[in-house]
Assembly symmetry: C2
Homo-oligomer: 398 residues x 2
């Protein structure tokens, strides 16, 4: 690593002050190798909150932020349909890139983004996903080193209220990249791929749209066969019924203590007058400075329950580290720090830009995650196993 | 139902006083419509314990028990390879049958057993499996009535010490019906089928043999596609690492409070001198009168974690009933009684024999469960989805 005293920190601008951008700001402010360098958002109130809070400029046009000389890199947290345009523009201006998941709405768009990044010699990281969480990275270290023998299977459950959080219209339209398949599945796929460290060979999946008022996939079951022979099973439901944090000591996915609030998100949404009301609530509560992000992340982040089974031990994310159930019994592998996986996103960017370390969660990695998500959708539609190599689909709307 | 005051109770003999037979004896003694009518076992010590305890005859030959006039029905809890012979003999003597899972080692054997039962006009029930548990039967009622809207997916996890409990040699040989595929998977398949109430269309599965000293499958991941469109995902590991009862308030599958004992079964097994030692421990601890079955079942039985997702609610087995996570929030549906699913096995037999009620868990049902287990094994071997209709395999050793 370069000496942090002599290498100037990376100046990062945040494009989009919705929930993702709002969550990245504190991680940037706290990071030893990065500094926050401004923001862009179309919403005046979010810009006002940001500037008043940070004393930094907030512009209404992403391209203006990208063009600023004081910006070395941008975090693109705009709606999915803008990722392509903003990433290409950033690359052409020589700015390094963190782009939110899903990377783009099609494999072709991913290809263009990758080409532009390569051509302009900029680094592109895709995240945050829970594949950056410290316990996940530590599990990867364990499985790739064979610390507990060979990896055999990963099992993941996540039951949330995802579908009833306030949404923009396109977030409820699968053909525009809405629903859990392109917004929650990438977390589980990234976690599984980060730990399994093997190409995905095939998937078998089912999906469900259970509430016609939210006409996009809200739940799924996925069986992933990795080329290495490892299996991952992923279960997700965003219907605000069972909440799997009940089985994780009521600690939220961002590592914050929480209280049971079964059905509350649905009821809050049902109390809204119309889509305009919903959008306003979304910005007020989930955008920069909103209540949703309040609270301190005191525990390790997670994405629901996960058990990683190796030959000589099962590993499970625990509030303060990793629970290791080995031949010798149960112990906890404590992890210090890492309460915010976004710090690891910035780490990967800084290591790539400043130290020339090849990032794990780069464009190629994220493109493959999108391919797996497309294959999951295809498997559910065709009701059969889909070989990744044979997948014809390239776009979420196909 | 016939008047219990005028209809004499069913006199049931128990063939095999191992763990299954030992567990059935108290259920028979407590049942209002059945009486215990003797036992058979090849082991003199188990026979001695039984007779001394119950004051009833215990013979060393199954056929002698089957032939007794005082026996109306038999519970066949002998090693799997004897199910065919004992069931056929019972049917020919006009005795009703409860036969342990797996029903037999091949679909052809199942067919013979069914034919003989039909020809001799006797009832045949296959169990106990956790498909008889009261919460499971209550969930079936909910899903088949549409109480919470249409059923969408079932997710099941079970992490146990199965592989290191003391075993007979054939229990560790998959080709003889050993391992988790033919001894634990039938529980999950029966539970899923009892609730889903639909034929299985296809399965995609992986299995693992992680300890060469126990050379049979010890873990698996299964994706089941039901014809109705319902999906079940089943995860099991018997490697004595993670114990999923940790997430069920440390209540055992038989509804008893338990303490964490990670790795204890493996260590106990590793301390044994040889296979003879193991067999002796098996009989002493797991057979009739052994320590394994001691303790009171104070809570509902279960087979690991299960979440059943319907359109309007998720259902989860809770210690005292069913946790219902509906649109209105979380409530518990209390269940009274039912702490032993074996009572429901006897219920089904008595209802069929005495009241002419068609049993749910009959030979045809159990044959289909065996077919699903064979398909799971086949899917893992061929590493592809297996359509149940196209399955060629008919025997565990094929």
């Amino acid at each position: 690593m370069s000496d942090p005293k002599t290498v100037p920190p990376l100046r990062v601008g945040v494009i989009g002050l919705g929930i993702a951008g709002a969550a990245m700001v504190p991680a940037l402010c706290d990071h030893p190798r990065a500094v926050l360098a401004g923001a862009a958002d179309v919403n005046a109130e979010l810009r006002r909150r940001f500037t008043s809070d940070k004393g930094l400029p907030a512009v209404d046009n992403a391209l203006d932020l990208i063009g600023r000389d004081e910006v070395d890199a941008v975090y693109i947290a705009t709606p999915h349909q803008f990722h392509l345009e903003h990433a290409v523009e950033a690359a052409r201006r020589g700015k390094h890139i963190i782009v939110e998941k899903p990377m783009a709405l099609s494999l072709d768009d991913c290809d263009v983004m990758e080409q532009e990044a390569r051509r302009n010699n900029v680094v592109m990281i895709v995240g945050h996903t829970h594949g950056f969480d410290l316990p996940v990275l530590r599990m990867r270290q364990a499985t790739t080193s064979g610390e507990y023998g060979r990896l055999s299977m990963l099992s993941m459950w996540n039951y949330t209220n995802f579908l009833y959080r306030p949404r923009r219209e396109e977030e409820l339209d699968t053909s525009k990249g809405g629903g859990v398949l392109f917004n929650q599945l990438p977390h589980q796929v990234d976690v599984a791929r980060t730990i399994a460290d093997s190409p995905v060979r095939s998937v078998r999946a089912s999906t469900a749209i259970l509430d016609p008022r939210r006409p996009t996939e809200g739940s799924y079951t996925v069986f992933i066969d990795f080329e290495s022979g490892v299996t991952a099973s992923l279960v997700y439901s965003g219907y605000d019924h069972f909440d799997s944090d009940e089985l994780h000591q009521w600690i939220s996915s961002s590592g914050k203590p929480k209280k049971p609030q079964h059905g509350k998100a649905r009821k809050a949404w049902e109390g809204l007058a119309d889509a305009k009301d919903e959008l306003e609530l979304r910005q007020r509560e989930y955008g920069y400075g909103g209540a949703f992000l309040a609270g301190e992340s005191r525990y390790q982040p997670h994405f629901g329950l996960m058990v990683v089974s190796c030959q000589n031990a099962d590993l499970k994310i625990a509030p303060d580290g990793i629970a290791v159930y080995s031949d010798e019994g149960m112990t906890t592998l404590p992890l210090v720090g890492g309460q915010d996986g976004r710090t690891n996103v910035i780490d990967e960017l800084c290591a790539a830009v400043l130290d020339d370390v090849r990032p794990l969660h780069d464009g190629a990695f994220a493109r493959e995650t999108l391919r797996v998500c497309l294959a999951v959708h295809e498997s559910a539609r065709q009701r059969r196993e889909i070989s990744i190599a044979d997948l014809q689909r390239r776009h979420v709307s196909q």
